[in-house]
């Protein structure tokens, strides 16, 4: 099996401001993101040879892309729950790598605020019973489906709940600090550990500030053959790995699934590191954009992604390892905590941050000499998840 490593590159990206975009429809968000990407890549819309749209709730078909006015090219809508944005990049990258096209658009959008709901349906419902096949899907909320991990993690590693809550709070505080430096984020407010710990409980142990917001947004990438990349710009960003791992409900059906890690995350990360040629992720990954839909997920992700040994993430949180100035900054743009989670857009929004960081264009959030960036998403939850890991790098490896 060949690796996707260095076969394709991203030469332009766009990302809208995320937030409650009451004034903008799906079409506005798409145009904003796509045209920023076109301009960044120095291409014209007519140069795009194929397009993949990622969205979960904001359009059932590729026709949703019609506001871009692309003329009779192949276009497809893809969906992979919370990994939908990353899935659009995966599809576009494979098509370019296969030689089916040379310049492709991957774009993701979600207009959650138009759903008129507080939050998104829990994964026990979403994607399972679109027609209510049995209607047995219980009414778990999305926070609840992740809160399980927190409850069990505290129990498993013997953390006092009050200490565990503070640990989670540190993650929220870190991400809000990063988000405060990012004009495209939905939230710019700084938080304190006390504020996070005292916020109303949503699903124990998760309080309001342990949960990401509900936002609208879109992000886009222009994907080209790696060997053409430098004709577009001097600093293209290479795709090093594209990995997806989907569970078969092991977590809901097998007693050996431990709820202190998510196997899908571990498998997707393993595949991605293999493809990228990364042996020691803690040492080699420069920064990571991870799926902090809920703080307890970011906590276990430090371990699932190989940044901290099992049960030891707390040491790294306390040491500031994942802070903007730490040795492995995580969610430098503010994460889902500050961007909310417009499902189809999130994966590409994360890659937008990696792309800017790897080019040295991340402004006040710029980290020092990054080489590899990891973008991670998880749709569903433990044992019924869709995990995606994408690795981007700013150099072609000398193979």
């Amino acid at each position: 099996m060949e690796s996707i490593r260095d076969k394709v590159a991203i030469v332009g990206m766009g990302c809208t401001k995320f937030g409650e975009r009451w004034d903008m429809g799906v079409e506005d968000l798409l145009v904003e993101a796509a045209y920023e990407a076109f301009e960044d890549a120095g291409v014209e819309p007519k140069d795009i040879q194929a397009a993949w749209l990622g969205t979960v709730f904001s359009g059932l078909t590729a026709i949703t892309l019609s506001p871009l006015g692309l003329q009779y090219i192949p276009m497809t809508r893809v969906e992979n729950l919370c990994a939908t944005g990353s899935e659009a990049l995966r599809a576009a990258s494979y098509a370019v790598a296969a030689g089916a096209c040379d310049i492709a658009l991957a774009i993701g959008v979600e207009k959650l605020k138009d759903l008129g709901q507080t939050g998104v349906k829990g994964p026990a419902i979403v994607g399972d019973n679109p027609d209510g096949t049995t209607g047995l899907g219980s009414g778990f909320s999305a926070p609840a489906s992740f809160a399980y991990l927190g409850t069990r993690y505290f129990h498993h590693y013997g953390l006092e709940p009050a200490y565990g809550k503070r640990l989670l709070a540190e993650i929220a505080v870190k991400n809000h600090y990063n988000g405060s430096l990012n004009p495209k984020a939905h939230f710019h407010n700084l938080l304190t550990v006390e504020q996070v710990v005292r916020a109303p409980i949503v699903a124990w142990p998760l309080g309001l500030y342990d949960c990401c917001g509900v936002s609208d947004g879109a992000a886009a990438a222009i994907v080209v053959r790696a060997d053409m990349a430098k004709t577009f710009r001097p600093d293209p960003i290479y795709v090093k790995a594209l990995a997806v791992s989907v569970g078969a409900r092991q977590g809901c059906m097998r007693q050996d699934y431990d709820y202190v890690h998510i196997e899908e995350n571990v498998r997707a990360a393993g595949m991605a590191y293999d493809q990228a040629g990364i042996k020691d992720p803690r040492a080699e990954i420069s920064l990571a954009e991870v799926h902090d839909c809920f703080t307890c997920h970011e906590l276990i992700l430090y371990e699932d992604l190989g940044f901290s040994p099992g049960g030891k993430a707390r040491d790294d949180i306390e040491a500031g390892t994942f802070a903007l100035k730490g040795r492995l900054p995580v969610n430098t743009d503010g994460g889902l905590k500050c961007f909310g989670h417009p499902l189809g857009a999130s994966g590409l929004r994360m890659m937008y941050e990696l792309y800017k960081q790897l080019q040295g264009k991340a402004g006040p959030r710029q980290i020092k000499d990054p080489k590899f960036g990891l973008a991670h998403n998880l749709g569903g939850n433990a044992g019924m998840g869709i995990a995606s890991c994408v690795v981007l790098g700013n150099e072609k490896s000398g193979r």
């Binding site: 349906k121 026990a124 419902i125 209510g132 209607g135 899907g137 926070p143 609840a144 949503v202 699903a203």
Partner: protein, 473 residues
Amino acid sequence: MAGITSVGVYIPLYRLSCEEIARMWRTQPVGGAKAVAGYDEDAVTMAAAAARDCLRGNGKTADGLYFAGTTAPYVEKQNAAIIASVADLGRRSVTADFTNSLRSGTTALISALHAVESGAARTVVVVASDCRAGAPKGRFEQLLGDGAAALAVGTTDVIAEIEGSFSLFSEFTDIWRTQEDRFVKSVEARFMEDEGYAPIMQEAISALMDKHSLAPRDFSKIVFSASDGRQHAGLAKKLGFDASQVQDPLFHLIGNTGTAATLIMLIAALEEVKPGERVLLANYGDGADGLILRATEAITLIQGRSVLESRLSAMKNIDYGAYLSWRDLVPFEPSSLPERTEPSIAGRWRQRQVIASLSGVNCRKCGTPQIHPLGQTVRICAVCRSKDDFDRYSFSDKTGKLFTYTVDELQPTKNPPGLNGVVDFDGGGRLLCELTDYDLEKVRIGMPVEMTFRKMSRGKGIVNYFWKARPLA
């Protein structure tokens, strides 16, 4: 001789005190408390719980099930069939609904006796369940409680023989509801008592004793229905029985549970009588039914575990606001949270065994019990991946332990916050499910749970039943 072979009771966990109701409306409390079905319960779920309780134990089964009650969710569609499927009866069982009268519980009991005596069925479970509503601020609001009772009628392992029965009907309008009525209506209490209840009950009881040449002294207990405690005490005086013979109607503990009331009282009496002693049972409603029961040596078998006592002692008080919400007595602001998916009738039919008895599979290759959390058919083993090589495995009677959980403030429930968790079954298998009837302060990892059949939602005009876990008593 045919008779009762086992008993089951279900009293919901919740109590609403008459004082709480009286405080709400600035009226006089009648005293005591009423049992209130949880927001996820109805006459069918309570009946299913009582029927399962009745059939609990080694190899107990039945080939008939009669449901009796006036408040079953379906008025066209058989409720007995739902309950029989949850009680895991064979498909060729006889089932029927007896309804529209508070007397229907004893009418079903007499019909079950006839079915067994004629050989049409070997064992028929009679289950009576009611969830009647009194209009807010009215007399019945304080009087009516919710509950269910089940009696198995058969000819082997009889604990109480049924020596005789008597019935009469009376076209007398005293308590009623039409198709349009949500709340119980009644005539003036003294008219009901003087011209209906007292003379009809006296006539039936006398005729039954005469028919069998028995007198009040021949009974250790008399069990009879009444609409309230005052009416009950009044008739007790008139009948010529000693106060020590009269079974407490339990109204102060659970309210008047309608069709279930007399059968719950009968079970209370059977839990106390000695072998050889007789119980007289009389039930009122558009006439009267009377039965004579006599305990056998086997009566002691039900007296050790006292199901009724344990059901009565487990209780949790609720306030009037919860009651309003659970019974849909006032309109509430619609939730802005995502709602539950509506059920599909065809999908529910395909998964009928999963819904009825939480039926999963046990892998023949690796021996792992498993169930799909959404009730989908398991075709590939979640452990060894062998295909279509399973035995049926029911989880409804399995206990388990809470592996992890969360208190969900966003769950669409009328009893917030929701609690859901991962249950690891003793003997294998895991299920993600909702919990119910919990005390949040006592919830912890490792908490023992059992499964209970509940109402999940309504949609497309049907009731969507499934299973939840509840803390093991």
